[in-house]
């Protein structure tokens, strides 16, 4: 395709480029002192057919637009690696250990209010899903983990999550405050009985996976 555009083609090209709305051939012609813009439009349409932009006619009005095969360039996704916040990690852990669980239950376990955004983040990450509603007054939404959660954390099933005794054995309960932990450690046998009795069977089993296994 060899061409040096003539002056009318250049004028049409510039006018359509700068126009804020698509223009009909009549409007173009009027803008360009009544010139016959038909041939120029055809020549330009042909010229741009191979390029990254096209000259297209839509409902008798002409406009430039991105070539259809390049439309994806207009919308780019940029992935941003972000670490889960401590609050979100806690909520994820609670969902994982206690699922299905409502937001009120999560808050009861954490002892602090949990912003809706925290659960949104976990759902955006694809690790937590809405698992229905609990059939109690208010019918609260309940949350559970997803298969992506298991694969991300390399777990075959939720039963692979370490129980609280194993966490203790691994020293994971220690680092906070030695004096405080001393007390907790001494009182924990009783404490566990007290907190677990009302839990769902599932959660109780998780606390002591070796017993259920």
């Amino acid at each position: 395709m060899t061409e040096t555009p003539d002056e009318l083609q250049r004028a049409v090209e510039a006018t359509l480029f700068a126009a804020e709305e698509p223009m009909s051939a009549e409007a173009l012609s009027q803008h360009l002192q009544g010139a016959d813009v038909g041939p120029a439009l055809s020549a330009l349409e042909a010229h741009y057919r191979q390029r990254g932009i096209r000259l297209v006619e839509r409902g008798k009005r002409w406009q430039f637009q991105t070539a259809p095969d390049l439309a994806h360039l207009l919308r780019r996704e940029r992935e941003q690696v972000r670490r889960l916040s401590r609050a979100a990690t806690e909520v994820l852990a609670i969902v994982a250990y206690h699922e299905p669980v409502s937001r009120a239950e999560i808050e009861a376990i954490r002892g602090v209010q949990t912003s809706a955004g925290t659960l949104d983040v976990l759902m955006e990450a694809g690790w937590v899903r809405v698992a229905g509603r609990r059939e109690v007054p208010g019918r609260p939404v309940i949350y559970a983990t997803t298969p992506e959660f298991l694969s991300h954390f390399g777990l075959a099933s939720r039963r692979d999550l370490p129980g609280i005794d194993e966490l203790k054995a691994a020293g994971l309960l220690d680092p906070v405050d030695d004096a405080y932990d001393d007390l907790v450690t001494q009182s924990s046998p009783d404490a566990e009985d007290a907190t677990e009795e009302g839990d769902e069977l599932d959660a109780a089993a998780l606390e002591n996976p070796e017993q259920s296994a």
Partner: protein, 267 residues
């Protein structure tokens, strides 16, 4: 250049050719309005200089001074708040002119030639910028002569977050949560103690045996748990105070933190 730059001969034909910017002479009433149009005395001077129709390097400073002073004198209706700067410049120029006309040997530093040259340099610089500004404005300007695309589709970048969390963070977070929320039981360990009652019995029994001063420590059990010994010390001390209060014993201490002695009060 210095000599070229200062033509001390006033140019005869420049006298009447320098009215206000772009206006025909329309009487003195117009002049005060015209002062508003100048961007300060230097601007007015530059305009007057331009009217000499010579290169700024070859400008006649003396002619310029005359033109300026004459212009200011004719602007009768000067508004003072606008005119102050112009009047200061007029006074300075009048001084410059007289200095330029004086014999050289009577002049102070900086000499009038230096002042005149500096004024000329300033006018050149302002002139250069005025010229540059008009050339800049005459360029093909975006939105006036050339145009960007009227309706660009726009590029959208959707940010997607790739959330990161590992197994350890997950599990340790749960552990900490558990640790934080365990109900706290305050348990006092069973410890070997000597109660006050038994200390009272013990001390009064031993006082009964001995008549002279005894150090408090002699009342304490010699063996056993260190914690029991400490408890015994505390209890025995309180027991001694109690016996003294009851009038059954006397307490003596030679110095602060010194050993504590006690003995029975003979009834």
């Amino acid at each position: 250049m210095i000599e070229d730059g200062l033509l001390f001969e006033p140019l005869a034909e420049t006298g009447e050719d320098w009215n206000a910017p772009g206006t025909a002479p329309s009487g003195d009433a117009a002049l005060y309005l015209e002062l508003d149009g100048w961007e300060g005395p230097l601007d007015l001077l530059l305009d007057l200089a331009r009217r000499q129709k010579v290169d700024l390097k070859a400008i006649s400073i003396l002619a310029l001074v005359d033109q300026y002073i004459s212009y200011i004198e004719r602007a009768e209706a000067l508004r003072l708040e606008i005119a102050a700067d112009y009047l200061v410049m007029a006074a300075w120029l009048a001084y410059l002119k007289s200095a330029l006309l004086l014999p050289k040997e009577e002049q102070e530093e900086p000499g009038p030639e230096e002042l005149a040259l500096r004024l000329q340099l300033r006018l050149q610089r302002l002139g250069a910028m005025r010229e540059a500004a008009s050339r800049l404005l005459a360029r093909d300007r975006l939105g006036r002569d050339v145009f960007a695309r009227g309706a660009p589709e726009g590029l959208r970048i959707d940010r997607k977050n790739d959330w990161q969390c590992d197994w350890y963070a997950l599990v340790s977070s749960y552990a900490q949560l558990k640790a934080r929320n365990e109900p706290v039981f305050h348990m006092v360990r069973e410890r070997p103690v000597m109660t006050l009652d038994s200390a009272l019995d013990r001390v009064s029994a031993m006082l009964g045996v001995r008549l002279d001063w005894m150090e408090l420590r002699e009342f304490l059990p010699r063996q056993g748990d260190l914690r029991l010994q400490r408890s015994a010390l505390a209890s025995s001390f309180v027991a001694a105070l109690e016996l003294a209060r009851q009038g059954r014993a006397e307490i003596r201490q030679e110095e602060i933190f010194g050993p504590l002695h006690l003995r029975r009060v003979a009834a």
